[in-house]
Symmetry: C2
C-alpha cells in the first residue's frame, strides 16, 4: 500500500490558508459528554491571528461539550452546488478550545461577518479560540497533505 | 434559562427527512485513535433504508478511526452561498458504523449518485452503514429539535 500523503508544498499551504481565510462557518466536532462519542454541528467562525475564532451560544450542546472536554476538530471548505463534493478542497483542523476575548473581537467580527450582528451581542454567546495543533488538507480526490501550524500562518 | 428545544412536530420530521434524502455528502465526526479527540472529514453518503450509507477509502484516516471505534456523528444540510449559514437548516446524527454490502448497494449508488462511478469500484473503497440512534435538527436560528430514529423514517 503506497502512502497516500503527498509532501507539503507551497501550493498546498496557499490552498489551506485560502480555505481558512474564506470560511465563515465550519463543521465542529466535539466529544459528546453523554456518550463519549463524537458530535458534529455547524458553527460560525473567523480565522484570525493563527487561530479559529468561534462565537457559540452557551445554550448549544457543543458549548457544554467543549466545557467538559476542550478537544475539538473543525472541517472548513464548502463544496459548491455543482460537481462531486469530494473533488472540492477541504481542511480538517484539530486543537483545543479556549475562552476568547469577545469584546476585543467585536469590531473585527462585525466588519468581516456583518450578519453576525444578529446574535454577536446576545449575552449567552461567547468567543471560543482554537489554535490548531494538527491539520490535514484534502485538495481533491487523491491529493492529501499533512500540515503544521506553521504551514497555516505566513512567515 | 428556558429550554431551547422545541417539541418535535410533523414539520420538523419532514424537514429532517428532506435533508437526509437530499444529502450527497456529510461532515463525518470520528474518534481519532491517535489522540482520543474528535476528527471531522467530508464523506460521500446516501440515505437508504433508515440508515446513512458511506463509501470510504481504507486509505483515509476516518476509515482507520471507525475500525478502532465505531462511534460516529454526521452533519448534513449544506448552507447555500447566500445569507448567514446559521439560518440554514441542518441535522446532526449519532450512531455506530457497521460494515455494509457494497455489491448490493452498487446499482443504487450509481443511479442516485452518478459521480460515484469514478471511485465506487476501487478495491480500497468499502460501504459503511450507520443507523442513527439520536438526531438533532437545527431548523435555523433558535429552532432546535431532538428527533428519534422513528422521526426520520416514514411510518
Amino acid at each position: 500500500m503506497t502512502d497516500p500523503i503527498r509532501p507539503t508544498d507551497d501550493e498546498a499551504r496557499a490552498l489551506a490558508r485560502r480555505l481558512l481565510a474564506d470560511a465563515d462557518h465550519a463543521a465542529l466536532g466535539v466529544i459528546d459528554p453523554a456518550t463519549g462519542g463524537p458530535w458534529v454541528s455547524r458553527v460560525a467562525m473567523l480565522w484570525h491571528g493563527g487561530a479559529v475564532e468561534l462565537v457559540v451560544s452557551d445554550l448549544a450542546p457543543h458549548a457544554a461539550a467543549m466545557r467538559a472536554d476542550p478537544r475539538v476538530s473543525l472541517l472548513v471548505g464548502e463544496p459548491g452546488a455543482k460537481g462531486d463534493a469530494l473533488t472540492h478542497p477541504r481542511l480538517t483542523l484539530a486543537g483545543r478550545a479556549a475562552p476568547g476575548d469577545k469584546a476585543g473581537a467585536r469590531a473585527r467580527w462585525l466588519a468581516q461577518r456583518p450578519k453576525s450582528a444578529v446574535w454577536f451581542d446576545l449575552p449567552d454567546f461567547r468567543l471560543v479560540r482554537i489554535a490548531p495543533g494538527a491539520a490535514s488538507l484534502n485538495g481533491g480526490f487523491g491529493r492529501a497533505f499533512r500540515l503544521s501550524p506553521d504551514d497555516l500562518n505566513p512567515p
